[in-house]
Amino acid sequence: MNACKLKNKLFIIITLVLILAGMTVFGIFGFNQTVDYSNSYEVRVSVDQGFDGATDLLIKETNYFFAENGIKSQAYAFQKAEDGSLLIYKFNKQVPTSFNDLQKYLNDKLSAAEFTSATAKVEVNQVIGNKKFDAGVLSLALGISALVIFVYALIMEKLAASVATLGSSVVSFLLFLSLTAILRIPAYPFVSVGLALSVAIPALLSLASARKMRLVYKSKDKPNSKEIAQAVINNEDKKYLFTLIAFLVGAVAISALFVPYMMFVGAQIAVVGISSVVSAYFVTPLIWSGIKG
């Protein structure tokens, strides 16, 4: 049991440090806001006439130009019109002055590739977005969710289980927020989904474990709540490990497609998995046995 105590102490210390550090980073810098949240810039490359192959050439040469000039943030977003006449590259920083040369560069390349009558035009625009992280509505929704889950757990599994479930969700929520802030994972557009999952997943894991603890506790004449809690959670470690692996696999599956936005989503799914599983695994026995005494 000493090893368990040490594990629990380590968990508490690491979690507290992470949450404190995360909240500090969050308080100072806020979320890492990508192009769609904050004011940004875009480069629009358009061609006056559609030719087979001209669009592909423009994409290839524009990407080459970006690489040559050390411009990396273009990977954040790229859109094009269906007929290939317009390409939009989005940036979250001031576009370098070297963009002034892009139009000439592209037209030279079009001419060299026998698209002599096609003319490329490059416009650099300042963009104002209005999307804000709607913390009020989301907090209300998650608060109500947590309350309803608490009441459900209270009815089904009594007080200790319901408090353990709520505690797991709260710790997981804070951990997710902190890790997202510390790792500077771009928030938009899935931070709300991540926060919702970081409340739901630990709650459902914790509720099932706390039920088992209650049933075992009830079946004993002289129960020792701490040892029961630890034994049950140790017995369920495969379930927790499997859940963590499932989230990590999901994160890798979506990140491995190498679409920038989806890599942000993948990172958030991974953080959801870690914060949810770790919180439910450590917080449930701590709170449940704490209440049972």
């Binding site: 006449s85 963009v127 499997f242 999901g250």
Partner: protein, 447 residues
């Protein structure tokens, strides 16, 4: 169940599942002209996965009021209006050239391409105020109700079936007490019938061709109908909010690719399938025979979740929905783990036979499995009620997934287990059970 019965039933189910799997994921030509485009082709995708159309709003030359720093509030108004018209995923941005000579921002709206998108954007970007005209002849031209706010609220009230079996779409307009009292006064004062027409610039929102009576006003509420849902929603929006303070010209729009990149929907499908395959493989590796039953029901889970995306009306899949499906797949795996671990614990912690342990394990896992799905369902329902856009898309697919996961784990897993078990001779080996395993019960016994 006898061996023969098991083999027959398993064969039928396997053939059916194989057929549904092929129909779900395969693409193949039918004859020389048509092509079967799989389930993926039938799922309605939102703008962020499929692309859509981009409209540019340019400040009109005869615009009178300067926009200046109010461009943020223009964007917010446009976003609220798009939401009111039922658009979940869209992008509204102000765009201005870095060239110092350009002073005004254009507004770019990107959203899903629908039948009514052009007219919706025109309504959203419309300029002007709602004006009321009243008089004792049809189509009156005398402006009335100019002193205070007239319409308190206007909402789209849904479809109604007319006596001739045609469908109309209703809008409920609630007048303010000022509007209602003034209208009643005018109706009372009229020698014959009284007509009311509501317009915004040249657009007639409520035709003044029929007389209005106190009965029609129903204590300040009027129900009017429109021939299409889109026009009814547009009418409700304009009645309630009027037009923009600034006059913008709207261009013809250009089709645009998905903001997450081309082919993103297919990539998402690959990610979901990869996740499912790995989870199914893990279940079989970790839980052996029971894992096989769980894996087969997980396969059914994926198929049902996919078909529900087509079958449930009004679902448009966005990136939020994709994350919802992936989360529901993990949720389904968690339910399977609760079941399989429960059965395993029951076996190693007692002297029961495999059959008895499976029966007791499934029975004991009933409440935790239901609780797991209820918790997920609660979060999905609350998010659905309070949020919009990406989060709402997530809530829909996650909520559907919670229901399907419940059915899948409680019914399908039992069913497959009942079918597979009679075919196995050494059940203990097949299920990977060993009584020497250390489990919670044993530990607690020691305690």
């Amino acid at each position: 169940m006898s061996k023969g019965k098991s083999i027959t039933l398993l064969s039928i189910i396997s053939v059916l599942m194989a057929f549904v799997l092929v129909m779900t994921f395969a693409r193949f030509p039918i004859g020389e002209v048509k092509e079967y485009n799989s389930l993926l082709g039938a799922v309605e995708l939102d703008y962020d996965l499929e692309g859509g159309v981009a409209y540019t709003l340019t400040l009109a030359k005869d615009n009178e009021e300067e926009v200046g720093d109010n461009v943020g509030s223009v964007i917010k108004t446009l976003e609220n209006r798009l939401s009111a018209l039922g658009y979940d995923v869209f992008s509204v941005k102000a765009v201005k050239s870095v060239d110092e000579e350009v002073t005004d921002y254009d507004i770019r709206i990107e959203t899903k391409n629908t039948d009514s998108v052009a007219s919706d954007i025109a309504v959203v970007a419309a300029y002007g105020e709602v004006k009321f005209y009243g008089g004792e002849s049809a189509n009156p031209t005398t402006e009335i109700l100019t002193e205070q706010k007239v319409v308190a609220d206007a909402t789209y009230a849904g479809a109604i079936t007319n006596r001739d079996n045609t469908t109309s779409y209703a809008v409920t307009i609630k007048f303010t007490s000022y509007g209602y009292n003034e209208l009643v006064k005018a109706i009372d004062a009229a020698e014959s019938s009284y007509y009311l027409e509501i317009k915004m610039n040249d657009t007639v929102l409520l035709s003044g061709s029929s007389a209005i009576t106190k009965d029609v006003l129903q204590n300040g509420t009027v129900v009017v109908t429109s021939p299409s849902e889109a026009s009814a929603r547009q009418m409700a929006l304009q009645m309630k909010d009027g037009g923009l303070k600034y006059k913008y010209d709207v261009d013809e729009g250009v089709a645009i690719s998905a903001p997450y990149g081309e082919g993103v929907a297919t990539k998402c499908a690959v990610a979901i399938i990869t996740l499912s395959i790995i989870l199914i493989a893990l279940m079989i590796i970790v839980y052996k025979g029971l894992g096989l039953s769980a894996a087969l029901s997980s396969l059914l889970f994926i198929l049902i979740e996919g078909w529900l995306l087509i079958g449930v009306p009004g679902i448009v899949l966005s990136m939020g929905g994709v994350v919802g499906i992936m989360s529901a797949t993990v949720l389904n795996a968690i339910c399977m783990l609760v079941l399989t671990q429960g059965v395993k614990n029951e076996y190693v912690g007692s002297k029961k036979t495999v059959k008895a342990a499976v029966k007791k394990g499934f029975a004991d896992a009933l409440v935790p499995t239901i609780s797991t799905c209820v918790v997920a369902g609660i979060v999905a329902l609350v998010l659905l009620a309070f949020t919009s856009g990406v989060v709402k898309g997530f809530a829909i697919t996650f909520g559907i997934g919670a229901v399907v996961a419940l059915v899948s784990s409680l019914i399908f897993t039992r069913m497959f287990n009942a079918l597979v078990t009679p075919l196995v001779k050494d059940k203990e080996k097949f299920f990977g059970f060993k009584r020497v395993d250390v489990d919670a019960k044993a530990l607690v016994e020691e305690v």
